[in-house]
C-alpha cells in the first residue's frame, strides 16, 4: 500500500458495471450448524467426550453379547473374585460377572438417560408452546399448574409411579416425565414468548403460516442450540436421578440392573479390602459417562457461541505475544551479559 504511485501505473479509463459487481458477497456461505459442528470437532475435549460416549454406547451394545457370561448368571463358587483375565471387573457376591453386568447396567442407564431427558422435554415443549403461543387464560392455567407441580416434591411422583408400575426403565422414564416436564415447559414458553412478537414470526404470520408451522419451523430452529445444550445436561441429570432413586431403593428391579443400581450396591464395599472392585468399576463408569455428557454439553455450548471462539483466539494470540516478549527479553539479557 505504501508503494509509491507513479503516473504511469494509473489507468483512468472507466470500468463497466459488470466488471465490478456491487452486490456480490465475497465471503463463502456459512451454514450455522455445519459451522457449529466444525467448531465442536475442533475442541479436543469435546472430541474426547464424543469418543467416550461412543465407546460407552458401543460397549453397552456389544460387550454383553461378546461376554461368555450372562449378566444374571450366578456362579456360587466364584463369589467376590477380584478382577482377572476371566472376569475383567471381577465378580460380585453371587459370582456374577461384573464386566457383563456393568455394560448391561450401562444399557439401562443410557436408555434412562436419553429417554428420561427426552420425554419430559418433548412433553414440556408441547405444553410450553401451547401456553406461550395462545397466551391469555390458557397460559395462566398452564403456568399455575406448572408452579404447583414444581412445589410438589418429585419424590412423590417417583415413589408413586415406581410403586404402581414397578421398578423398570419405562416406569422411571414415566416418573421423570411427570416430574420433569415443568422445567422445559417454562423454558419453552419463555422462548415462544420471546419469539412470538419477533418480526420474522410476524412476517411468517402475514405469509399465512399456521401456528405449528411457526412454532416448529421458525421458532424451534432458533432455540435448537439452547435445547441441545439443555438436553445434553439433562441426560446426565436423568442418569443421576436414577442412581439417586436406586440409592433410596427405587431403581430398576432385579434381575434387571442399571449402573446406578450397581454403583449404589457397590458403595457398601467402598472400604472393603476384598470387594472394592464392586464399588470401583460401576462408580467409575457412571462417573466417566456423566463426565463425558457434561463436558460434551459444555463444549456444545461453547461451540454455539461464536464469540467464544474469537475470545479463545485472542487469548492464544496474547499468550503467544507474551511468550515472544519474554523470549526477546531473555535474548536481550543474554546479549547484555
Amino acid at each position: 500500500m505504501k508503494e509509491k504511485i507513479i503516473s504511469e501505473m494509473l489507468d483512468f479509463s472507466p470500468v463497466s458495471e459488470k466488471e465490478r459487481d456491487a452486490e456480490q458477497i465475497i465471503r463463502p456461505s456459512v451454514r450455522y450448524w455445519p459451522e457449529v459442528w466444525k467448531r465442536l470437532f475442533r475442541n479436543k475435549l469435546a472430541v474426547l467426550c464424543i469418543v467416550i460416549i461412543g465407546l460407552i454406547l458401543l460397549c453397552a451394545i456389544i460387550m454383553p453379547i461378546l461376554s461368555p457370561y450372562e449378566f444374571d448368571e450366578v456362579s456360587l463358587f466364584e463369589s467376590g473374585l477380584k478382577p482377572s483375565a476371566a472376569h475383567f471387573f471381577g465378580t460380585d457376591a453371587s459370582g456374577r460377572d461384573l464386566w457383563t453386568r456393568v455394560w448391561i447396567g450401562a444399557r439401562a442407564s443410557l436408555l434412562i438417560g436419553f429417554l428420561g431427558a427426552l420425554t419430559p422435554f418433548i412433553i414440556g415443549t408441547m405444553i410450553g408452546a401451547i401456553a406461550g403461543w395462545y397466551g391469555g387464560r390458557i397460559d395462566m392455567i398452564i403456568m399455575r399448574v406448572c408452579d404447583i407441580m414444581l412445589c410438589i416434591p418429585s419424590m412423590i411422583y417417583m415413589i408413586l409411579i415406581l410403586m404402581v408400575m414397578g421398578g423398570s426403565v419405562s416406569s422411571l422414564v414415566v416418573a421423570m416425565a411427570i416430574s420433569g416436564w415443568m422445567g422445559s415447559a417454562r423454558g419453552f414458553r419463555g422462548r415462544v414468548l420471546q419469539f412470538k412478537n419477533k418480526e420474522f414470526t410476524l412476517a411468517a404470520k402475514t405469509q399465512g403460516a399456521s401456528a405449528p408451522r411457526i412454532i416448529f419451523r421458525h421458532i424451534l430452529p432458533n432455540i435448537l442450540g439452547n435445547i441441545a445444550v439443555g438436553l445434553s445436561g439433562a441426560v446426565p441429570g436423568a442418569i443421576f436421578m436414577e442412581a439417586g432413586m436406586a440409592y433410596i431403593g427405587l431403581g430398576v428391579t432385579p434381575p434387571n440392573i442399571s449402573l446406578g443400581q450397581l454403583s449404589t450396591d457397590g458403595i457398601t464395599y467402598f472400604m472393603s479390602p476384598t470387594k472394592f472392585h464392586l464399588f470401583l468399576y460401576p462408580s467409575l463408569v457412571i462417573s466417566i459417562m456423566i463426565f463425558a455428557f457434561f463436558m460434551f454439553g459444555n463444549a456444545l455450548r461453547d461451540a454455539l457461541d461464536p464469540r467464544l471462539r474469537d475470545e479463545e483466539y485472542n487469548a492464544k494470540r496474547m499468550r503467544k505475544i507474551k511468550r515472544g516478549q519474554k523470549r526477546e527479553a531473555r535474548k536481550l539479557g543474554k546479549a547484555a551479559v
Binding site: 453371587s94 421398578g167 431403593g249 428391579t253 434381575p255 472400604m271 472393603s272
Partner: protein, 582 residues
C-alpha cells in the same frame, strides 16, 4: 455386681422353680457356661482399672416407645432399658426384678404375683394394677385372648378389664388361664404401665422421651430420630446400684455400612449391634462375636390355587399355574435344585444354612440342642442335588403332561425389596435356570407393605419368607402353619372376608393336632417328639422350604465388657456393662 443376681435368684425359689422347669429348655440364648466365663473375667479384672461412664453403640432405633401399639422387637430393647420388669433375663439368666413371689397353681392355670416396693422415676409407686393394665392392653389380642379367662370377651368388646387378669391388692395380682400352656411360665416380659399416665398422654404416648414413664435402669433423655438416643442411669430404679454400672448409654443410629465402619474405626462408638454382611469383612474379626440364628428364611410355595382380587374375593389362580404349584414333584424339583449352603454363604456370610423350622438355640432334653437331638428324615441335601432335581422335574412334567420345561406357565417369585432378599431370589432364580432350565420365573420385588399384602392375598406363586424365630417359644413359629380360624378352606376365607396371615400353604389336620397338643404337653421328651413329627410333616409337604438362618455378629471393642446381643437381629443386652478407659 454379679453377687446381687445370685442373691435375688436364691431368694425366690418358687419363681426359680417355675422358671427352671421350662426355661431351662426354652429360655436359651448363650449358654450358661458362656455367661459363667463372663462372670469370671469380670471378677478377675483388677478393680483399679479406670472405667468410663459412657457406652456408645450402633443399633437400630425403635419404631415407637408406645408399649401398647408397639409391634416390633426393636421397640422392646428400649423397654428393657427404660422399664422395670417382673423378671429380667441378664445374659440368659432369669432373675426376678420387681416380682417378689410368684405362685403357680398345680394345674398351671393360675399365677399369683406379689411385687416389691418400687417406684417410677417420677416417684409414684409401681402397683399391681399397673401390671394388670399392661397385660390387658398388650396381651389380649385376637391371637392370644383365648388363652386367658374372659380374654375373648375383653377383646371382642374392647373392654378395659378382663376376668382372668386382676389385682388383689396393691402388691398382688392374678392371671388365670383357660388351659395350661407349656410356653407360659409366668416370666413373660411384663412391664408396669400406669393407666393414669397412659391416658393423660393419649396419642402422644411414647413419641418422645417425655412421653414415657420410666421405671427401668435408664432414663431416655434424648431421642433424635435417625441419629441417636441418649440414656442416663435411673437412680430410682429398683436395682440401681447393682445391675447397670455404666452411667450413660448412647444408641447411635447409622444406616450406612461405611459410615458405621468409620465411626467404629474412629472410636466414636464402642460396639455395633449388628455386624451385617457388609461390615463383616471390614471389622476386626477379633471384635466380633457370633450370636445364634433367630430368623428363618424359607421358600413358600402357593399351593392353594387361589388368589384374592379386590372385586371378586378369592378366585382361582388359573388351572395351569395352580396345577403346577400343587404338584409335589415340581416343588421338590425346585427345592432340590438349590444349593442352600452355598447360596446362604453368598447372600449373607454371617448367616447359616437352615433345614429346620425351630431355632437352633432351643435346647433339647439334654445339653445338646433340640435340632440335634431330634432330627428329620428324608430332607433335601443342603448342597442341593441337581440330578434328583431334574428327576423330580421330569416326573412333574410327565404328571402334568408337559414335554418340556419351556412350556411351563410363567411363575412369579415375590419378595420385598431389601438388598439381601432380592439377592437371594436372584440367585435362586438363576440356579433354577441353570439346573432345571426353568426360565419362566419372574422376580416380583415390592415394598414391604405391599409384598406382605400380596402374600396375604396369595398374589404370588413363590414367596421368599423371612420369619423371626422365638427361641423361647418353639411352638410359636410352628403355629404359623396351623390351619386356624377356618381359613384352610377358601370358602370360609371368603365368608369371613378377612384373609389371615400365612394361612395359605399348609393345611394338614394331623399337623394341627400335633402342634395344638404340644402346647399342653409338659413332658419335654414327649413334646419334642410331637414337634419333631410336626416338623417332618411340614417338611415333607414342601410348602415351606427352610433355607437360611439369618444369624449374625456383633462387634465390641476390646475395652468393653458385659455387652452382649440378645436374640433377634438388632437386639442388645447388658450384663454388668463396663467400659474401660482406653
Amino acid at each position: 455386681g454379679t453377687t446381687a443376681d445370685k442373691t435375688s435368684n436364691a431368694g425366690n425359689s418358687t419363681a426359680a422353680d417355675a422358671g427352671n422347669n421350662t426355661a431351662d429348655s426354652e429360655n436359651a440364648t448363650p449358654t450358661t457356661t458362656e455367661s459363667a466365663t463372663t462372670d469370671t473375667t469380670v471378677t478377675e479384672t483388677p478393680v483399679e482399672q479406670e472405667t468410663l461412664d459412657t457406652f456408645r453403640f450402633v443399633a437400630t432405633e425403635p419404631n415407637t416407645l408406645n408399649m401398647i401399639e408397639s409391634t416390633s422387637n426393636l421397640d422392646t430393647y428400649v423397654f428393657y432399658l427404660t422399664s422395670a420388669m417382673l423378671y429380667r433375663s441378664i445374659d440368659g439368666v432369669v432373675t426376678p426384678e420387681v416380682c417378689d413371689t410368684l405362685t403357680v397353681s398345680d394345674d398351671r392355670m393360675t399365677y399369683t404375683y406379689t411385687i416389691k416396693e418400687a417406684t417410677y422415676s417420677d416417684g409414684t409407686k409401681i402397683t399391681a394394677d399397673d401390671f394388670v393394665y399392661y397385660l390387658v392392653k398388650k396381651y389380649l389380642t385376637s391371637e392370644n385372648c383365648t388363652y386367658f379367662v374372659g380374654g375373648e370377651d375383653t377383646y371382642n368388646n374392647s373392654l378395659e378389664t378382663c376376668e382372668g387378669i386382676y389385682s388383689v391388692d396393691e402388691s398382688t395380682f392374678v392371671i388365670t388361664m383357660t388351659s395350661p400352656i407349656v410356653t407360659f411360665n409366668g416370666q413373660l416380659e411384663i412391664y408396669p404401665l400406669q393407666k393414669a399416665f397412659v391416658e393423660a398422654k393419649g396419642e402422644a404416648l411414647g413419641g418422645t422421651p417425655a412421653d414415657l414413664l420410666y421405671s427401668g435402669p435408664y432414663l431416655l433423655t434424648d431421642w433424635v430420630v435417625g441419629s441417636s438416643m441418649t440414656f442416663v442411669k435411673n437412680d430410682s430404679y429398683i436395682n440401681a446400684d447393682t445391675l447397670f454400672p455404666t452411667q450413660n448409654l448412647t444408641l447411635v443410629v447409622s444406616s450406612d455400612a461405611s459410615t458405621t465402619y468409620s465411626m467404629y474405626q474412629n472410636g466414636e462408638v464402642d460396639a455395633i449391634i449388628n455386624v451385617n454382611k457388609d461390615l463383616y469383612e471390614l471389622i476386626d474379626q477379633a471384635d466380633c462375636t457370633y450370636y445364634s440364628a433367630d430368623s428363618l428364611w424359607g421358600i413358600e410355595y402357593n399351593t392353594t390355587g387361589f388368589t384374592y382380587t379386590d372385586g371378586d374375593g378369592f378366585v382361582s389362580r388359573g388351572d395351569e399355574v395352580s396345577a403346577l404349584m400343587k404338584n409335589l414333584n415340581f416343588r421338590k424339583a425346585l427345592s432340590y435344585a438349590i444349593n442352600r449352603s452355598a447360596v446362604a454363604a453368598v447372600v449373607d456370610p454371617t448367616s447359616t444354612v437352615a433345614d429346620r423350622y425351630v431355632s437352633t438355640s432351643v435346647k433339647g432334653t439334654g445339653d445338646a440342642a433340640y435340632v440335634d437331638e431330634y432330627t428329620l428324615e428324608n430332607t433335601a441335601p443342603l448342597e442341593g442335588d441337581a440330578e434328583a432335581a431334574v428327576g423330580y422335574l421330569n416326573a412333574a412334567l410327565a404328571e402334568l403332561g408337559y414335554s418340556d420345561v419351556s412350556q411351563l406357565p410363567e411363575l412369579s417369585f415375590l419378595t420385598f425389596d431389601s438388598a439381601s432378599q432380592s439377592m437371594y431370589v436372584e440367585t435362586v432364580v438363576s440356579l433354577w435356570k441353570s439346573v432345571l432350565g426353568l426360565e419362566n420365573v419372574t422376580i416380583n420385588l415390592q415394598p414391604i407393605q405391599s409384598a406382605i399384602m400380596s402374600m396375604v392375598y396369595m398374589n404370588y406363586d413363590i414367596y421368599l419368607q423371612q420369619l423371626s424365630m422365638n427361641p423361647d417359644d418353639m411352638l410359636e413359629q410352628l403355629g404359623f402353619w396351623k390351619t386356624t380360624g377356618g381359613v384352610s378352606d377358601v370358602a370360609g376365607f371368603q365368608a369371613s372376608g378377612v384373609p389371615s396371615f400365612m394361612a395359605s400353604m399348609h393345611a394338614d389336620e394331623a399337623y394341627d393336632t400335633l402342634v395344638t397338643d404340644a402346647y399342653t404337653e409338659f413332658d419335654d421328651a414327649a413334646r419334642f417328639s410331637m414337634v419333631q413329627q410336626a416338623e417332618q410333616l411340614l417338611y415333607d409337604s414342601y410348602t415351606f422350604f427352610p433355607a437360611m438362618a439369618g444369624g449374625g455378629y456383633y462387634a465390641t471393642k476390646s475395652y468393653v465388657e458385659g455387652y452382649y446381643s440378645t436374640y433377634g437381629e438388632n437386639g442388645y443386652g447388658f450384663a454388668n456393662l463396663v467400659v474401660y478407659a482406653h
